[in-house]
């Protein structure tokens, strides 16, 4: 009996630790939940200089407490540069919560580079710092571009042909335009001067010169009828310019009316000439060469007579 009891006692000595061990295992999560756990991941682990890595820290901690991540200053971060960070939290269970801190870094330099240590600051439910813990994330390998890789990444553009140098020709163009403008200006002034000169010329002189030329043409065989037509035109031009009456667009009675108003001395002679010319032009009258010559002479006298302002 004593032996049985002893055996049972021994058995119990063996079982109790086992039971205690089992219980300790069963209770462990709750115990663990009470202690913060930190997981830090960095991706990618290999990259080119200038690219970015993302570092994610997952911190599980009891609910009611808080966690913050402290980073060293920018000088200490080199060759990493913090681009941005984001923090979020979510409850895991009734007693535990998870805090996630995502940090994005730009990476420079070359070769294996280790991220600076992260300092986790724990706060209790009253907001007081309950502890600090430092974690050192894994290193990343920073690759550098070879010249060939640089070319493949951004191929060089072929050199473009230089544009037409308009600016070089600008003085030439300006010179041409300037010359043209000068020519036009000269033409304008010449034309104006010619016009003024022609206006200044005495109509009687012009008429006399034309009558002399007409006389010469008559002598060289011009038809007397044509001579009268031209004589009429010369006289009308003279009257128009000398007396400023629209003689070229007026019929003989209209000229007669206008001249009568002016009261000029050679009125009858002028009208006689114009009527004779009308007969030749419109009534098929046929003057002789001598009659034509006489009419030219008579016209010459009219335009040269002092009463008409002729010279």
């Amino acid at each position: 009996m004593r032996g049985v009891i002893e055996r049972l006692r021994n058995t119990a000595r063996c079982i109790v630790p086992l039971i205690l061990a089992f219980l300790s295992i069963a209770v462990t999560p709750h115990v663990r939940a009470a202690q913060p756990t930190v997981t830090v991941r960095v991706s990618p682990d290999s990259l080119y200089a200038g690219e970015r890595i993302v570092c994610i820290a997952d911190i599980q901690h009891p609910r009611g407490t808080a966690v913050a991540v402290e980073l060293p200053d920018s000088a200490a971060l080199s060759p990493f540069m913090l681009i941005g960070r984001k923090q979020s939290s979510k409850p895991l269970s009734a007693s535990a919560a998870e805090e996630r801190v995502e940090m994005e870094f730009a990476v420079f330099g070359s070769g294996s580079q280790r991220l600076p240590p992260l300092t986790l600051v724990f706060f209790d439910s009253r907001g007081r710092i309950s502890g600090r813990e430092e974690f050192r994330p894994a290193a990343v390998f920073v690759k550098t571009f070879t010249p060939q890789e640089m070319l493949e990444l951004r191929p060089l553009k072929p050199p473009t042909a230089p544009g037409f140098p308009f600016m070089l020709f600008l003085p030439v163009l300006l010179g041409i335009f300037g010359f043209a403008a000068a020519v036009l200006l000269v033409l304008f002034f010449v034309k104006r001067r010619v016009r003024l000169f022609s206006e200044a010329v005495d109509p009687a002189q012009v008429a006399s010169r034309k009558l002399r030329r007409l006389d010469t043409r008559l002598s060289s065989g011009m038809l007397p009828s044509e001579c009268y037509a031209e004589l009429s035109t010369i006289m009308r031009e003279y009257l128009e310019r000398h007396y400023h009456i629209p003689a070229l667009e007026a019929v003989t009675p209209e000229i007669e009316r206008d001249l009568r108003k002016l009261g000029i001395s050679s009125f009858e002679a002028i009208m006689s000439l114009l009527r004779q010319a009308d007969l030749v032009k419109f009534a098929d009258s046929r003057p002789t060469a001598e009659e034509s010559r006489n009419s030219i002479r008579q016209a010459g006298e009219i335009v040269r007579s002092p009463g008409n302002g002729g010279g």
Binding site: A229, P246, L248, E249, A250, V251, T252, P253, E254, Q276, D278, L279, V280, K281, F282, A283, D284, S285, R286, P287, T288, E291
Partner: protein, 332 residues
């Protein structure tokens, strides 16, 4: 200076033959005071075989001029008062049924006369006005299937009033173009008005007019007019004037380019030449001068030029266009 013998002879004949017009003018002037240019235009149209449209405000003796003119001629005269309810058949005639032979026979209308006074022509609708087209252009009338020639001489003298628009109908362009001249009858001057007043209150003016012109006189005058000499320079001057209404810019009249919608038709050149010849006849001349052309340019061209909206907006009349053209086209 040796003048063309033919023209000298023709000139003498014209001087002798045109005496009948002086007689007629004398008769007309016994009851028409003033309006000598209007009467002269009526004579020109008669001699040139044309028709006249007289336009003037009421009371200017338009109708009296025509009646006096007709009374001085030994010609058959009919007055047709145009009214809004007129029909073409009232003018030219119609087919009338004869129960004896049970056939339709044409009955000639009042248009069958030597001188027609179409009084207030614009009071009838266009279809009645258009009934005169054939008569005026071809001197014949078609009734049913038969065509009848009109007596010679045949002349339409139409009157219209420019200020009344109520109950009037604008003459169609084709109709207007057939009038050789459109004569504007203007107010008499002070002295003429005084004389008119005394004359009208004294006795009936038409009672004294005797017919002094025979159809033979007119036919002979027309044959002489046909022989009137027209120099090529004058011919070109006429064409220049007419073409200038269509293409004013070519004659230095750029400002008229947009003012004139349509220029004068070739009928203008024809009528201007015919009228100028008749005008020369009245002057006892055997040749025409630019003066003949110029003096008739307004009456011959004014109704053939259609002004554009710019001209109408600026109140520029066709007479202003013609004045500009006459001042720019060089006289030969």
């Amino acid at each position: 200076m040796q003048h063309a013998a033919v023209l000298e002879e023709l000139g003498r004949e014209i001087a002798e033959s045109s005496v009948f017009l002086d007689r007629a003018a004398e008769q007309i002037s016994s009851c028409i005071i003033g309006q000598k240019e209007v009467v002269r235009r009526v004579f020109i149209a008669l001699l040139a075989g044309g028709h006249i449209l007289l336009e003037g405000v009421p009371g200017l003796a338009k109708t009296l001029i025509v009646r006096s003119f007709a009374a001085s001629m030994n010609l058959q005269f009919r007055r047709i008062q145009f009214t809004p309810d007129m029909l073409p058949a009232d003018l030219v005639g119609t087919m009338v049924y004869n129960p004896r032979d049970m056939e339709f026979h044409p009955r000639q209308g009042p248009v069958f006369a030597n001188v027609i006074l179409a009084d207030e022509i614009n009071r009838s609708p266009a279809k009645v006005q258009s009934a005169l087209l054939e008569a005026m252009q071809e001197k014949q009338v078609t009734i049913g299937s038969a065509t009848f020639p009109l007596p010679s001489p045949f002349m339409v003298l139409a009157t219209q009033n420019p200020i009344e628009h109520e109950g009037t109908y604008l003459l169609p362009e084709a109709q207007v173009d057939r009038f050789m001249m459109k004569v504007i009858v203007d107010y008499p001057n002070y002295e003429e008005e005084l004389e008119i007043m005394l004359l009208a209150s004294a006795s009936p003016p038409l009672a004294e007019i005797r017919p002094v012109v025979e159809p033979g006189d007119i036919a002979r005058a027309r044959s002489l007019i046909d022989r009137i000499y027209v120099d090529s320079r004058v011919q070109r001057y006429i064409v220049d004037l007419v073409v200038a209404t269509r293409n004013p810019a070519a004659y230095g009249l750029q400002k008229l380019e947009t003012m004139i919608e349509y220029g004068a038709s070739p009928r203008a050149s024809i009528f201007l030449l015919l009228a100028a010849k008749a005008h020369a006849f009245l002057q006892h001349r055997a040749y025409i001068t630019p003066e003949d052309v110029k003096s008739l340019a307004f009456d011959t061209l004014r109704h053939r030029i259609i002004p554009g909206y710019e001209a109408e907006a600026d109140n520029i009349s066709t007479d202003d266009f013609i004045r500009d053209i006459l001042q720019h086209v060089q006289v030969p």
